[in-house]
Symmetry: C2
């Protein structure tokens, strides 16, 4: 890792065995040196969670020219923190999360462990990209995303991204992606989120599920519209979540 | 819960046994009917994590006039989702997270389970507030925060908050809070995040720790400045994280 090739740090939330991350490694290897630090088992829906109540460990599981793969007992965000601290000998040029098995557009950005990877990279000052495919299946076909994934990563390696801004890239589950749209986060809500079951002992338990209700299905500026219409959606995402627009109003509260 | 008093849904990430949430219940009881659904053990640093790989359960542990307290096996965000689905007979008028044992200002908003509660409330369309005290101790003194907590909650119950915006309220750990500042999220980074130890068997493990490096310590508009100078910091926080400011630039990439 002492040469001049870009250093790309990869993680995900589906775990190191997932097809998505292993496809991503293949697609990005031509662009630089790859270090992977990914959870040792699935951590879907972990958002930016970090591990504070128990220690975290990592293990090297694969080493080839230009590729080091580690598995980690921590969360997706832990993986980025620990790789930077313990295994990298310089700052990465790019942090990449994915390819997620499932949609991280719209409000899903808040729950996504893939975006946890990306936000952690961005908080560390590294240009960061998350890739997700709208297909939850273990054997999802990622091949149609390869070209756009490489093009976006290449462009970010060349141009960088503004401080505090990362990219959330989602792909429709189709063979022929029509192109790329630059989008904003769709406004909508999850509904019918729980399925109630009864244990043999009589107690109730609940599975998280749900339907996403899109409040603006016809707005072509949104990431959901792009995905529904066969385009890859790039939603630039920021880590400063201050709602500047109501600060004056709140100052008027005279608390 | 059929009367006209405001319905306030409370959760946290330190778990139902924490002093902070039990103080919060005391401070808010005069304002309405209280329903608490909180994790059955600590879930610090869980951000907006949700539980998708195992079922979630809840149990009623305390019932008094105007107060129902449930413990839940899920994450802080799960608690809000499950309370709305399974125990409330109407939408809450207010969702409150806290009082957290520890600072959730600056970039900590991304890791905070307390803010996970609040963002979940906000995503559900309910005015939502997170309260945190910059003191991690189990027996921290929350009393100096009581008056401001009630004043902010009362004001939000009366005026509401704009759709998609919630409040992140942090308190300094001091006896005499000087007042309230409306702030923006401080720019800075966590550094020295891991402490490495060696197991008796020779393998290494890592504890997450760290120092927060404030990049703008003298900026009076930031939440960290307010806290360092003895003020409560109210940082309005939004759920639309789109970085609108670089959309045109990205469109120019012609991907």
């Amino acid at each position: 890792m002492k040469n001049k090739k870009p250093l790309i740090l990869i993680s995900n939330d589906d775990g190191i065995m997932a097809k998505g991350i292993n496809e991503l490694i293949k697609y990005l290897r031509p662009l630089g040196e790859i270090v992977v630090m990914a959870p040792d088992s699935p951590r879907s829906g972990m958002a930016c969670a970090i591990t504070s109540d128990c220690p975290v460990k990592y293990t090297l599981i694969r080493k080839e020219p230009g590729l080091f793969v580690y598995k980690c007992t921590g969360t997706p965000a832990d993986c980025i923190k620990l790789a930077r601290f313990a295994v990298l000998d310089r700052e990465p040029d790019l942090v990449v999360g994915g390819i997620n098995h499932g949609d991280n557009s719209a409000v899903n950005v808040h729950y996504s462990g893939t975006m946890g990877v990306v936000i952690e990279g961005c908080l560390s000052g590294v240009p960061s990209i998350g890739y997700s495919l709208c297909d939850h299946r273990l054997d999802a076909n990622f091949e149609p995303t390869a070209e756009i994934i490489r093009a976006v990563a290449k462009r970010v390696l060349e141009d960088g991204l503004p401080e505090g801004i990362c990219l959330n890239v989602n792909f429709p589950a189709c063979e022929d992606i029509k192109g790329v749209k630059i989008c904003r986060q769709t406004v909508g809500r999850w509904t019918h989120e729980w399925e109630q079951r009864t244990h043999p002992n009589g107690s109730d338990y609940f599975w998280l599920t749900g339907d996403f209700k899109n409040y603006e299905p016809d707005d072509e500026a949104t990431d959901n519209w792009a995905l529904k219409n066969g385009y890859a959606a790039i939603t630039p995402t920021k880590i400063d979540v201050t709602a500047y627009e109501i600060m004056d109003q709140l100052k008027g509260w005279n608390l």
